[in-house]
Point group: C2
């Protein structure tokens, strides 16, 4: 894409109303725009990042048999009354302009809605197991929406729900989802700690969170030195210096960002909706369920919190809006641009009439993995620099193509 | 996909609470589920259709320079107060569970929001023109939501907005969008009539609609025999039998479904938000704008209204959930299934233990373009039938691949 055509621009100063690093850099780079507290627009660069994250999540959900659907944001009272979740504080109520009685809440989760749908299709053990997911907009009336994309009042979420004949089937699938989530976070570049946590409004059972250690995290977890065992402080009886119950290593208290959570719901929702199936024997039994969420915007914000320096963002290649940022400085980059596109590489081509300093600063801020400079000095070659590294090298077009496509695999070619 | 794994099932009887053909067939086929009046879920088959439609729209929007973004559903009062559209009846108000004062309306359109965003980035004539679009969920408090996907209270929409230095730039782009829309509707299989209409809550100017002639349409238009000129009854002084002001042909009154509309907004919104730019001369001027919508669910519903028979849906290949419906009747279709997947063809494989009659009825209802039957009778061959045609023929695997992939081009290979 020609940078001169991009309708957004970078800004030098951080926005005054944003304290979080992710919101500051994403706003300055033109990735997002704050419409209201906790309510953001994804601008062209930001939308590309969200789409990359979505594509990776889709692939891993499809790989474990998830069937993609799309449920509505308008959730009628009858659904939430069935489980007593109509009056939960995070709900936004919806009413008509004239008729002010509230019939709908804006969905902050979809257990009830999908359980009702499943009731139409599940009758026999032959109909189980299955899993369905959506990538859909959720709403939560957050009193403290001050962390940029980490805590939104409107946000995109992937929510998967699974339906099983019994707890053992649920438990097996739960482990498959855990493995799929680990793959997703590995692919987007985030190291996560699998953490035992409470069930909140969802279940009386323990649940599990995927936590990314970060000083800006709003969660506190107790985690062992090996990172293979952790408990959320809200349920934990551990304290710093204790021995890990799993590996014996020392337990530390850490701040962390919750990027995903998974819930063994058991039969709570199926009982509320009378979702039963007939066993081979003819006997009726409750369906066992699990639910599994990932916040896409929160993943994007967390990536920025983890991968940045004083000059801007450093995107992992798998989620970068473009692979190559081509800067022309007094010599046309058009031929190189055309050649890179032809090689299937995503390029942001800075064809603007700006100073070298301004172009370099924008490139650092936007954080595209490969910076390729064409100038009078570079001759037939291209000056290549990886974002986050100091070293520059003169390479040929062929070398640039090889280098920048080596790790920038499309989501479906890992 | 294995049909035995699909969590939805077909149903023989039309749902009692749906009068519209599109809702009846889409519900019976397992494409959609009605959650509330005018509020639907897209189930796996329906979601695939919506994604096909979205991909075609995206391609044509990108081809005319549209930059994809995503704006929020929560639209704060300050935005709509600027244009006096806060208290429009179609708006759903949003409020907290405790604090009942309404701060947000659910976006039923995004002129105000994007105009405010554009104000951050437009200062000079050099920043114009540009166009941005989103595929996003809209909400309208429709009193009569009885037409299935044709009139929803929550629905997916593609909305494009363009920004120009003057009216002549706007008018040129308006014609580009018109051409792109014609391509989109041609690709999804719909014949549309370009119709002069009123501006509603959007503009005092005349606007244009893309109308699909259909007895179930809620609009009435006056259209000439050649279909190259039409006016919406709400603004027209024409009557049946008049001569067409364009071609001289006879004018007829027709019912039709509005699948898209485009609006030359002029400077209404830029004036409300003080969105100005500096000309080369240094003089300030208002930005000229256009907005351009397509309802994705409505397009899907319209396709069903136009393409069906007494047995079910007849999907155009470009938007079909799968290209081939492979039915095994007493002989395994697994090898053929594997071979078709390898050839890149999307296949729904009916591997269920059902009667031939049940499988044929489901295939007709679901409307996948090519029905391929494997049975003891077919031997090495496959019995191929196109949905909507009577003729069956015995073909080889190679012929099946050639036939079913000939028109089932991926959206990006038209």
């Amino acid at each position: 894409m020609f940078q001169s055509k991009l309708f957004t621009k970078t800004q030098k100063e951080p926005p005054k109303d944003e304290a979080a690093i992710n919101a500051q850099y994403l706003t300055r780079g033109g990735f997002i725009y704050k419409n209201s507290a906790g309510v953001y627009s994804f601008l062209p660069l930001g939308f590309r990042v969200i789409q990359k994250i979505a594509a990776i999540i889709r692939e891993e959900m499809n790989a474990i048999g998830g069937q993609e659907i799309l449920m509505p944001a308008l959730v009628e009272k009858k659904y939430l009354d069935a489980t007593g979740r109509w009056d939960v504080d995070v709900g936004f109520e919806v009413s008509g302009k004239k008729d002010k009685s509230a019939d709908f809440v804006l969905g902050w989760t979809h257990e009830e809605v999908l359980t009702a749908i499943a009731g139409k299709y599940i009758s026999s053990y032959k109909d189980l197991p299955f899993a369905a997911y959506q990538i859909q907009t959720k709403f939560r009336n957050e009193p403290r929406a001050k962390s940029g994309l980490l805590r939104g009042r409107e946000f995109m979420m992937k929510d998967l729900y699974s339906f099983h004949a019994d707890e053992s089937g649920l438990n097996r699938y739960y482990e498959q989802v855990r493995a799929a989530y680990l793959k997703i976070f590995e692919r987007v570049g985030l190291e996560t700690v699998y953490t035992v946590a409470a069930g909140g409004d969802f279940t009386a059972e323990n649940t599990h969170e995927f936590q990314v250690l970060s000083p800006v995290g709003e969660d506190t977890i107790f985690v062992c030195a090996k990172r293979d065992y952790a408990e959320n402080k809200e349920i934990s009886k551990l304290k710093s210096g204790d021995n890990c119950p799993s590996c014996g290593g020392k337990i530390e208290e850490q701040k962390s960002i919750e990027v995903a959570n998974i819930f063994p719901l058991g039969t709570k929702y199926s009982q509320a909706f009378n979702l039963q199936y007939s066993k081979k024997s003819g006997e009726k039994a409750d369906v066992a369920m699990g639910s599994y969420g990932i916040g896409l915007g929160r993943v994007m914000g967390t990536i920025v919190e983890v991968f940045h320096d004083e000059a801007g963002i450093i995107w992992p290649e798998s989620v970068a809006p473009f692979q190559v940022h081509l800067l022309e400085l007094g010599a046309s980059g058009q031929k190189i641009y055309d050649a890179l596109l032809k090689a299937g590489i995503e390029v942001l081509y800075d064809d603007r009439d700006e100073s070298a300093g301004a172009k370099f600063a924008d490139a650092d801020l936007m954080g595209i993995p490969y910076r390729a400079v064409i100038s009078a000095k570079t001759g037939d070659k291209i000056e290549l620099k990886r974002r986050g590294e100091e070293k520059t090298e003169l390479v040929s077009l062929k070398e640039l193509v090889l280098e920048s496509s080596s790790k920038s695999k499309a989501p479906n070619s890992k």
